[in-house]
C-alpha cells in the first residue's frame, strides 16, 4: 500500500515527531521552544510530502498501461552493491562512541551519517529514476559530482596543507628554510617535466602525484606525533618592581619587535638614553626639541620607543603612580643593549594629583635621570 517514496517521508516525519518529544522532554526553558517548533515543523512538512507521494503513488505509471512491466522504473534491475549502508553503520557507531567519549568524535560521526544518508538516498533513487538504464547510471553523477568534487578537493587540499604545516613546525628554523626550498624546487621541476613532455602517460602523472601526497601525509602524521619544535618566547616588558627597579644588564631583547614600522610611526615620544647617560624625550610633533617631561591623555594607551645609546645595557622603567591603598604601578622594558631599541606601552587612568608617588619614566641605576609624565 505504501510506496517507496512515501515510506521515506513518513519515516522521516515519525522520526521528527519522536525527536521533538524527546527534545521537549530533555531540555527546558526558553531554549527548547525554537527547537521543538523546528522539529514539529519538520514533522508536518515530511508528513505532507509523504501524503503527496502516497496519493500519487510516487508518480509511477498505472498498471493498465502496455509494456510497463519492462519499461517502468520499478521494473529496472535492483541496484549494485553499495558501500553507503556500511558507512552509515560506522557513522552510527561513531555517534554512540562519541556520545560517551569525546565531542569531536560525535561531531565527525554526525557529518559521516549525514553524508552517508545523502549519498545512499540519491543512489537508491538514481538506480530506478526512470525506465532508461543509461540515463539512470548517469543521473547520479550529474547530481552528486558538483557536490562531491569541491568537497573532496577541499578536504584533499586541507590534508596537504595541514601535513605540510606540521612538517614545517617540526623542523628547526634553518632546515625549515632548506626543506621549503627543496620541496618547491621539486614541484617546479616535476611541473616542468610534465609540461615539456607532452606525451607523459596519464597514469605516470597520477602515480607521481599520489606517491607525493601519501608521502607528505605520512611525514605530516609522523611530525604531528612528535610535536612542534620549541619556540622561544621573547619577553619584551615586565611589570614587577623587583625586575623593573634593578639596573638590568641580563636578559634578552627582541630586536625584531622594535623594528615594526607601523608601531614606530605611532609613538608619543622617543626616549633617548644618550651616551653621556642623560635621558631626554623627543615628542611626536615637536621635532628637534629635547624635553624632560611629556604629556599623555589619561586612560589612553600610549607608546614610547626607548633608544639606548649608552655603553651599557639599560632598561626603561615607567613608574605609573600609587593610587589609594594599591601598590605602585610599574612597567619596564627588558634590558636593552647598547645601540638597540625597545617599545614600552602604558596607560595612566588617573591624574598626577591622585598619585602619592611621582609618575615618571626612569632608567634604573642612573640617579636623577627622569622624564616627568603629566596626566592632566
Amino acid at each position: 500500500m505504501f510506496t517507496t517514496g512515501s515510506k521515506l517521508f513518513l519515516g522521516a516525519s515519525a522520526l521528527s515527531l519522536v525527536s521533538a518529544l524527546l527534545y521537549a522532554g530533555t531540555t527546558d526553558g526558553a531554549l527548547s521552544m525554537p527547537g521543538v517548533l523546528g522539529l514539529l515543523t519538520a514533522t508536518i512538512v515530511f508528513g505532507f510530502l509523504g501524503g503527496i507521494n502516497w496519493y500519487t503513488r510516487d508518480g509511477n505509471v498505472s498498471g493498465a498501461q502496455e509494456g510497463v512491466e519492462r519499461t517502468s522504473s520499478a521494473a529496472q534491475p535492483a541496484g549494485s552493491n553499495s558501500m553507503w549502508p556500511l558507512v552509515a553503520a560506522v557513522g552510527v557507531g561513531g555517534l554512540v562512541i562519541g556520545a560517551v567519549s569525546r565531542p569531536v568524535v560525535f561531531k565527525v560521526a554526525v557529518v559521516v551519517v549525514l553524508a552517508a544518508a545523502v549519498e545512499w538516498m540519491v543512489l537508491g533513487w538514481s538506480e530506478r529514476a526512470s525506465g532508461d538504464s543509461d540515463y539512470n547510471s548517469g543521473v547520479r553523477r550529474r547530481i552528486l559530482f558538483p557536490l562531491e568534487f569541491p568537497i573532496l578537493a577541499a578536504v584533499g587540499l586541507g590534508v596537504i596543507v595541514y601535513s605540510f604545516s606540521r612538517v614545517m613546525l617540526r623542523l628547526d628554523k634553518d632546515s625549515g628554510k632548506a626543506a621549503f626550498g627543496a620541496i618547491a624546487a621539486m614541484v617546479l621541476f616535476a611541473g616542468f617535466v610534465f609540461a615539456s613532455k607532452r606525451n607523459v602517460a596519464k597514469r605516470t602523472v597520477t602515480g607521481v602525484c599520489t606517491i607525493a601526497a601519501v608521502a607528505l601525509f605520512g611525514v605530516g602524521v609522523a611530525s604531528a606525533v612528535q610535536g612542534q619544535r620549541t619556540i622561544e618566547a621573547h619577553p619584551t616588558t615586565a611589570s614587577e618592581a623587583a625586575v623593573c627597579l634593578e639596573a638590568g644588564t641580563a636578559g634578552e631583547i627582541d630586536d625584531n619587535a622594535s623594528q615594526s614600522v607601523s608601531a614606530k610611526s605611532s609613538v608619543i615620544a622617543n626616549v633617548y638614553l644618550q651616551s653621556n647617560n642623560v635621558v631626554v624625550a623627543y615628542v611626536n610633533g615637536v621635532p628637534g626639541t629635547a624635553f624632560s617631561s611629556i604629556d599623555v591623555p589619561r586612560s589612553a594607551w600610549v607608546r614610547v620607543l626607548f633608544h639606548n645609546d649608552a655603553d651599557q645595557s639599560h632598561r626603561l622603567t615607567a613608574r605609573l603612580g600609587t593610587f589609594g591603598a594599591n601598590a605602585e604601578v610599574i612597567q619596564c622594558t627588558t634590558a636593552v643593549h647598547t645601540g638597540h631599541e625597545a617599545f614600552l606601552d602604558f596607560k595612566v587612568a588617573k591624574t598626577n594629583l591622585a598619585s602619592s608617588t611621582p609618575i615618571v619614566l626612569m632608567v634604573p641605576g642612573l640617579d636623577g635621570q627622569e622624564i616627568q609624565i603629566n596626566v592632566p
Binding site: S266, V267, I268, V283, N284, G285, V286, P287, S293, I294, D295, V296, P297, R298, S299, A300, W301, V302, R303, D345, A349, K350, T351, L353, A354, N374, P376
Partner: protein, 401 residues
C-alpha cells in the same frame, strides 16, 4: 496607478532636479569644496581638476553609450556583421586610462606626503571616545606663540589660533573614531593604542564644524565637533581664561549648594580643576571606575563652550547661535569669548541633560545591560535628581566660565 508616459517622464525629471538642487543647500557648513585653510585648499586644488577630468570622461562615456543606444536601436534592420576582438582598440583602451591614472597619481602621491609635514607651531592631543572628543593642551607647550601655563583639558570645541599650523595627535580610548573638519583638512582615524597626526590651519577666525566619520556605535551620529579659530590676542585671552584659578561660588548662594551637590553627584566622573571638598582636599574625578572609556568631559569651563555632549546640543539659544555662526571674522573672536551669557543661555537643553541624559542621546547606561562591562557605562547615566538639585547644579555650572 496608471501614469501616462509623458507624465512619468516629467515626474522623473522633477525628481532628478530635486536631487540636484538638494546638493546646493544654503546651510551646509561641512563643505569639502569650500576650503578655509591651507591644508584643505591644497586638497581642493587637487580634487577639482581630477573631478573635472573625471566629469569630462564621464560625459564622453555617457554620450557614446547614448549614441550607441539610439543609433543601433532595433528598427527591424538586419543583424550587423559580427566581429570578435580588435587588438588596436583594446590596447588603446587599456593604455589611455593607464596614462590618465598615472597623470593623476603623481600629484596625488606628492600631495599625500606634503600634507604629512610635521613642522608646526602648536601640538594638541585629541582623544576620541564614545561619543565625544577630548582636547588637551600640554602644560608648558607653546601654541601659536602663546604659552600654555597649565594643562588645559576641554571637549566639543577645539580652540586653535588662526593662521597657525596646528598639529593634532589623535588617538582613541575605546573604539575607532575618525576626526574630520571638512573645511580645514581631510579625515584621520583615531585608533586605540596608536597616535595619528593631522594638521589643521584656518586662515580666518571662525567656527568650522565636523563630525566623527568612523561608525563607532550607538550615538555615532551624535559625535560631532567644531574647530574654533581665534586670532592670537583672542587665543591668548582664551588660554588665560581656561587656566584661571578656580573661584568657588559665594557662600549661601544657590551655586554654593550646587557645588556640594555637584561633588556628591557628578565629581566621580567629571573633573572641575581646582575644586576642593569641605576639608580643603582636591576633588578628583575617577571616570576610569565608572565609564568604559575611562574619561568624562572636563567641566571646569563648560560655559565657555557653545554646545555639549558631542557638540550635539546647544548651550546657546538659536538666535545667539546664529549670530555667532554668521559673525564676520573680525567680530567672531569677541563674540565667542563672551561665552554663554545669561540672555543667550539655552537652559532647556542643559536641564534636560542633567535630568535624563540617555533620553536625549542614546547611550549604554541601563544597569541591566552593563554585565559585559563590569557595570561601567558608555555615556552618562540618568541620575534621578530632584528639580531643586538640578536648579542648584545649573546655578553652579553657570559660573564655570
Amino acid at each position: 496607478m496608471f501614469v501616462k508616459p509623458s507624465r512619468r517622464r516629467r515626474v522623473a525629471a522633477a525628481a532628478a532636479l530635486g536631487l540636484l538642487l538638494a546638493g546646493c543647500a544654503k546651510n551646509a557648513p561641512q563643505d569639502t569644496f569650500d576650503p578655509a585653510g591651507s591644508n584643505a585648499r591644497s586638497i581642493d586644488d587637487l580634487q577639482r581638476p581630477v573631478f573635472y577630468v573625471a566629469g569630462v570622461v564621464g560625459i564622453i562615456v555617457f554620450a557614446v553609450v547614448g549614441y550607441a543606444i539610439w543609433k543601433f536601436k532595433d528598427r527591424g534592420q538586419d543583424i550587423p556583421e559580427q566581429s570578435h576582438g580588435n587588438p588596436k582598440l583594446e590596447i588603446a583602451l587599456t593604455i589611455l586610462p593607464a596614462i590618465i591614472l598615472a597623470a593623476i597619481c603623481v600629484p596625488t602621491v606628492s600631495q599625500v606626503f606634503s600634507l604629512d609635514k610635521k613642522d608646526n607651531n602648536c601640538v594638541i592631543n585629541v582623544t576620541g571616545q564614545q561619543w565625544w572628543w577630548e582636547y588637551d593642551y600640554a602644560k608648558g607647550s607653546e601654541c601659536g606663540g602663546v604659552v600654555i601655563p597649565e594643562s588645559i583639558v576641554t571637549s566639543a570645541e577645539l580652540v586653535i589660533p588662526a593662521n597657525t599650523d596646528v598639529l593634532l595627535r589623535i588617538t582613541s580610548r575605546d573604539v575607532i573614531h575618525s576626526f574630520w573638519i571638512p573645511r580645514l583638512n581631510g579625515k584621520r582615524d583615531a585608533v586605540p593604542g596608536r597616535l595619528h597626526t593631522l594638521r589643521l590651519q584656518a586662515d580666518q577666525p571662525g567656527l568650522y564644524t565636523g563630525q566623527c566619520t568612523e561608525f563607532c556605535g550607538l550615538s555615532h551620529a551624535r559625535m560631532r565637533q567644531a574647530a574654533i579659530a581665534l586670532n592670537t590676542a583672542d587665543f591668548q585671552t582664551w588660554v588665560t581664561n581656561q587656566t584661571e584659578a578656580y573661584t568657588a561660588p559665594e557662600a549661601g548662594t544657590a551655586a554654593a549648594v550646587g557645588q556640594s551637590t555637584f561633588i556628591a553627584q557628578c565629581s566621580r566622573c567629571h573633573q572641575v580643576n581646582g575644586l576642593q571638598d569641605g576639608d580643603g582636599k582636591p576633588v578628583l574625578a575617577e571616570p576610569d571606575l565608572y565609564v568604559l572609556s575611562g574619561a568624562a568631559p572636563n567641566l571646569t569651563n563648560l560655559l565657555t563652550r557653545t554646545a555639549f555632549a558631542g557638540w550635539t546640543f546647544d548651550l546657546l539659544t538659536d538666535e545667539c547661535r546664529d549670530t555667532l555662526w554668521n559673525a564676520p571674522p573680525d567680530e567672531f573672536g569677541a563674540l565667542y569669548l563672551k561665552g554663554v551669557t545669561a540672555e543667550c543661555f539655552n537652559e532647556a537643553n542643559l536641564r534636560e541633560w542633567i535630568r535624563n541624559a540617555p533620553a536625549m542621546k542614546p547611550m549604554y547606561t541601563d544597569p541591566k545591560n552593563l554585565g559585559s562591562t563590569g557595570g561601567k557605562t558608555r555615556g552618562m547615566p540618568a541620575l534621578g535628581l530632584t528639580e531643586a538639585q538640578i536648579d542648584e547644579i545649573i546655578a553652579y555650572l553657570l559660573e564655570r566660565k
